[in-house]
């Protein structure tokens, strides 16, 4: 047990719970308060929240491990792609989504297509995907506890689970927003300091990349099939176009303009973070590891900071990794709970008051969180690859219905249902049944989904003038 590091991490966790409890009453006022923080979040705060939400435990820790194990470019593709996804979301989705007034992606798709099948299928896809994503976050938390603090994996897991579940279920989007902001600032600060410390310890960029390349000659190159790199990049770009936990933040801003600017701000922060973490810290981890592999690649960052930091910064780094885990886990949990509560249960309980709906939001958080905890005790290897595949499944299912619903007047509910099913099924067949380069499956599943969207839409009656006029209104100034 490492005393000072543990003290810093525990202090940080206590602060997160205090923030959650502080917003308890405000969040319970209405479903809009619980899911959207009353659309009151400032631009800069939202930009840091987006950064914290997108850059998960995988982003903070697993990505550096992947950079050390596979070279800079593969993981940098994903990191830059996730930043660019926010930019694409800002340009193509944020304004109409914000103007529609929908609190969640499922609600938006349901409003556009007015179909009960879509109303069930979309939240189910979200819940499956986000459960897997959450398990990856929990594994990161357990690994940090084990390596950095000397706490057994299971204890670290349960402690982390308790903290973020409490603040999400009590404080809703208010708590998630302000904890995310704090967490985003901490993650950015620690990454900058770690990058400076790494460069100082090794003697500058030339020495760093030179040493890493000496140990691993392919370190700065693209040596796998190009489709794997491009797939990893474009996957995360497309995530920004349809990912509920990212797009939920659009509804928390004061205006459509604020939503787009904060998404672009998040993109800048993520890009700077990606360059520092994948290039500098990834190379640093490789250099300090030398030619020998450590048994758990996801812990390479912890191996690096053991070499460059004393106990105080090690503690802050531990807190930053927990911040990365909890900020993403909180966003995912809220989005998954919204899928269950706002998009499935609430539709079947029209007699409930708005306050009852918001209270059930807290219960939905607890239900999903508990399932995640049970699945997290024995998780698989490689965090980043695990949740990236889950996101690829979700993108294959949701991106075409979402984008066609926003931009194509002829898109119908039949087209959307066929696009969703064909995208999801084709991705599953390609992933489990064929030996394709990692992440290149979306280059097949998305075109298949588009084809079925077109066939289904032209095979059914076109949307009414009322529906088209409503969507047109979302695009107007």
């Amino acid at each position: 047990m490492k005393g000072l590091e543990l003290f810093i991490v525990v202090g940080y966790a206590a602060l997160m719970i205090i923030i959650g409890l502080y917003y308890r009453k405000k969040a319970a006022k209405s479903s809009s308060s619980f899911w959207s923080a009353e659309a009151s979040v400032p631009i800069v705060v939202n930009a840091f929240c987006l950064f914290a939400t997108v850059m998960s435990g995988g982003g903070m820790m697993g990505n550096i491990g992947l950079a050390a194990a596979t070279g800079i470019v593969f993981i940098l593709s994903a990191n830059l792609g996730s930043g660019c996804g926010l930019g694409m979301g800002a340009m193509l989705v944020a304004r109409p989504l914000r103007k529609s007034g929908a609190k969640t992606v499922s609600e938006f798709i349901q409003m556009r297509y007015e179909s009960n099948v879509i109303g069930i299928a979309v939240p189910v896809v979200i819940m499956i995907t986000y459960t897997i994503y959450l398990v990856a976050q929990m594994k990161a938390a357990g690994t940090v506890g084990e390596y950095l603090l000397g706490v057994p994996y299971t204890y670290a897991l349960i402690a982390t689970w308790t903290v973020f579940t409490i603040y999400v279920m009590t404080g809703g989007m208010f708590a998630v927003t302000w904890t995310d902001f704090f967490q985003g600032c901490l993650m950015f600060l620690v990454t900058i300091v770690a990058a400076v410390a790494t460069l100082t310890a090794v003697g500058g960029w030339s020495e760093l990349i030179g040493s890493a390349t000496e140990i691993m000659p392919t370190f700065g190159t693209l040596y796998m099939p190009l489709s794997a790199y491009a797939g990893f990049f474009f996957l995360w770009v497309f995530v920004g176009l349809c990912s509920p936990h990212i797009l939920m933040r659009v509804g928390t801003t004061k205006s459509p303009f604020a939503a787009t600017i904060s998404l672009h701000g998040g993109m800048i922060i993520i890009t700077l973070f990606s360059i520092l973490s994948s290039m500098v810290l990834g190379a640093g981890a490789r250099v300090f590891m030398g030619v020998e592999q450590i048994t758990n690649n996801d812990a390479a960052f912890l191996f690096l900071i053991d070499n460059i930091f004393g106990p105080i910064w090690r503690g802050l780094t531990g807190a930053a990794i927990y911040a990365a885990v909890m900020s993403t886990a909180a966003g995912l949990l809220l989005a998954a709970a919204a899928a269950l509560s706002n998009d499935i249960i609430s539709k079947r309980k029209p007699n409930w008051t708005d306050r009852q709906h918001s209270k059930f939001g807290g219960v939905a958080c607890l239900i999903i969180s508990f399932i995640v905890l049970l699945l997290s005790f024995n998780p698989p290897e490689f965090l980043t690859l695990l949740y990236s595949q889950a996101m690829a499944f979700m993108v294959s299912a949701l991106m075409v219905p979402m984008m066609a619903g926003l931009w194509w007047k002829r898109a119908t509910s039949l087209g959307a249902i066929l696009a969703l099913l064909s995208g999801a099924i084709s991705y599953a067949i390609l992933f489990f049944g064929m030996d394709l380069p990692s992440f290149s499956e979306i280059f097949f599943s998305l075109p298949i989904s588009i084809i079925f969207m077109i066939i289904g839409s032209y095979a059914s009656i076109q949307p009414t003038d009322e529906v088209i006029a409503r969507v047109a209104g979302w695009h107007e100034e």
Partner: protein
């Protein structure tokens, strides 16, 4: 609001930014970029990094200018 292809109209500066983004991103995966290196790292990584900084800065500037009008 309508155009002949049945899509909702996109603002000109946003449309240009989206096209520029995808064109540059795809170009960054061509052999000429992938196989050339600067400071020990493939130019693919440098080009994508520059793109990921340029696009939001352009959009923020255009956004504020449009808002002021």
């Amino acid at each position: 609001m309508e155009n002949k292809h049945g899509f909702f109209k996109i603002k000109r500066h946003i449309g240009l930014a989206v096209i520029f983004f995808f064109a540059t991103a795809i170009f960054s995966y061509t052999p000429i970029v992938v196989n050339s290196m600067t400071a020990g790292v493939s130019n693919n990584a440098w080009l994508l990094s520059a793109l990921a900084l340029a696009i939001p800065i352009y959009c923020i500037i255009i956004g504020y200018v449009t808002q002021k009008k």
